[in-house]
């Protein structure tokens, strides 16, 4: 049991020791090679999961929409990703004569690299993490913004009007939805007192290693807003305005084909999977869980979040661009700010640790009581914001109906005269 739950750690230690002892490299070189191997493993994991996810997503969305999905290549269409890969490899790649060659050709590489680098800080099991950065949360946000540059490069370099329109929309959307994402990571960092993802997981585990209270119980509203802005950040449906087929052909990757197009797709899927992993780590307790080994727990939780993403994609229609901006700036951002302020005050008034109480006073409560207090605050903010939006929408509809009735009456009068 112990061997299974620590499998990843044992393998990595073994390989590191092997390199150090057999080849007799200097410590520096040995460490560099170990790092390189770990990076290759992580990148391969991400690329392979991309292949698997394209199949799973097509199957799941097909089932939601009452279709069968891919079923020709291999049993149950399982070989579909390989068929797609062969097609991508052998498809002719055209670079438009008017394109800005350097920018055009570099963009897919940039998006793929930034997407893969996110995996460097994800903790898969205790002690199994690419690197335990003490600014992990910040790093994920920073690397996540890299895809904005790549998309702008693609849109600008293609020298195509639709591509440029798509790139503009994308930048406005990705930049905008970063704000609620930041504002809802802050309460998590405050609760934990650390930005390292390992510390955040440890905060959701009890001292003896059993699963404690996941942050989604503390901060349900933050989790919800983080998920929504995560969907928008990866440009997935219902926020896929960047590649709205009915309006701007295919958005920023209109001019791309073959392997370069595949790299854009890889970037999108790997980013979406990274959002699932980050959500599982920040809000669902990461690798903590009973009985099963930790990495299985993390994969299960991330798979659950990814399923929600696929579900959203299968059921929701695409939003309009003004709706997208309104949802962000007029709903998510103000709500997140109010929530942040209330959470800050509640954390100071009801600290859960003696050290925090010594700094600021307040009533010392158990973590469970703190979780309940924060959850009630979160839910209250959500309910009040929803009712405010509902009231505003009702007022707008009443105005429109009054206007309509007025016009109808005028028409009737005209017809009678």
């Amino acid at each position: 049991m112990d061997v299974i739950s620590n499998l990843l750690k044992i393998i990595s230690d073994f390989v590191a020791e092997l390199i150090r002892s057999i080849f007799g490299f200097s410590p520096f070189l040995a460490e560099l090679i170990t790092m390189g191997l770990a990076a290759v493993v992580l990148a391969t994991f991400a690329a392979l999961s991309f292949m698997g996810l394209t199949y799973v997503e097509r199957k799941v969305v097909a089932r939601i929409q009452d279709r069968i999905g891919p079923n020709q290549a291999g049993p149950f269409g399982l070989l579909q990703p390989i068929a797609d890969g062969i097609k991508m490899f052998t498809k002719e790649d055209t670079t438009p004569a008017a394109a800005d060659r350097w920018v055009y050709n570099l963009a897919p590489l940039v998006i793929a690299v930034f997407a893969l680098t996110t995996y460097a800080v994800l903790p898969f099991a205790p002690g199994v993490v690419g690197t335990n950065l003490n600014v992990g949360v910040f790093f994920i946000l920073a690397i996540g913004s890299g895809s904005i540059i790549a998309i702008l490069m693609a849109g600008w370099g293609s020298n195509n009007k639709y591509a440029l329109l798509g790139a503009f929309r994308t930048v406005a959307q990705l930049v905008g939805y970063e704000v609620p994402m930041l504002l809802n990571l802050l309460p998590v960092v405050m609760l934990t007192g650390s930005m390292s993802l390992i510390d955040i997981v440890n905060h959701q585990t009890t001292l003896d290693g059993n699963p404690g209270i996941p942050h989604i119980i503390y901060l349900p509203l933050s989790a919800l807003v983080f998920l929504i802005s995560g969907v928008a950040e990866t440009g997935r449906s219902p926020f896929d305005l960047l590649e709205a087929e009915s309006e701007i052909v295919a958005g920023f990757h209109t001019e791309y084909s073959g392997m370069k197009f595949a790299l854009f797709f890889l970037g999108e899927y790997v980013n979406a999977l990274a959002v699932s992993f980050v959500f599982a780590t920040l809000f669902l307790g990461g690798y903590a869980g009973p009985i099963l080994p930790p990495y299985i727990w993390l994969l299960l939780k991330a798979a659950l979040v990814f399923f929600v993403l696929m579900w959203l994609r299968g059921t929701l229609p695409r939003v309009r661009i003004d709706q997208m901006h309104n949802l962000n700036w007029k709903f998510l951002v103000p709500m997140s700010i109010v929530n942040l302020v209330l959470v800050m005050l509640a954390l100071k008034l009801f600290p859960a640790s003696a050290a925090a109480q010594a700094a600021s006073g307040g009533v010392l409560v158990s973590p469970g009581a703190q979780a309940v207090i924060l959850m009630l605050i979160n839910l209250a903010v959500l309910l009040v914001s929803l009712s405010l939006v509902g009231r505003a929408a009702r007022r707008l509809r009443m105005q429109e109906e009054a206007l309509l009735a007025q016009r109808r009456a005028a028409n009737m009068a005209m017809a009678r005269a």
């Binding site: 950065l133 293609s158 700010i337 800050m344 050290a355």
Partner: protein
């Protein structure tokens, strides 16, 4: 600390190498028969008219400005969140005031119509 970030560098280089190899392998495998019609800019079958790199909507610029405001706010708030457990109630009240001023700024931008997409 130094080695922590070294891995990020190694990861980026590895990812770039792996993806670069894929691109190069695809370049070797695929057919290459360009002709003028293929290399035209795509625009629903018609040849494109005018310059592509033109002025863009001012709305994007305004939203970017509002974004900068909140991004800097977050930059200032993350250290505070990091040291949150050792802050006094008075310090937190100051932070709350700071955040509320920013909320006022958002409401001002909203009232001015900077957030409306026409």
């Amino acid at each position: 600390m130094r080695t922590d970030f070294a891995f990020v560098g190694v990861m980026m280089v590895t990812a770039a190498l792996l993806m670069g190899v894929t691109l190069i392998a695809a370049a070797l495998l695929r057919p290459k028969k360009p002709n003028p019609a293929k290399l035209e800019t795509y625009e629903c079958g018609m040849s494109t008219v005018g310059d592509t790199w033109v002025q863009f909507r001012v709305q994007y610029y305004i939203l970017a400005l509002v974004f900068v405001l909140f991004d800097i706010e977050a930059l200032l708030l993350f250290p505070i969140a990091f040291a949150f457990n050792s802050l006094t109630l008075f310090a937190v009240a100051n932070v709350v005031l700071f955040v509320l001023v920013l909320l006022l700024a958002l409401i001002y931008a909203w009232r001015k119509g900077a957030l409306d997409w026409e």
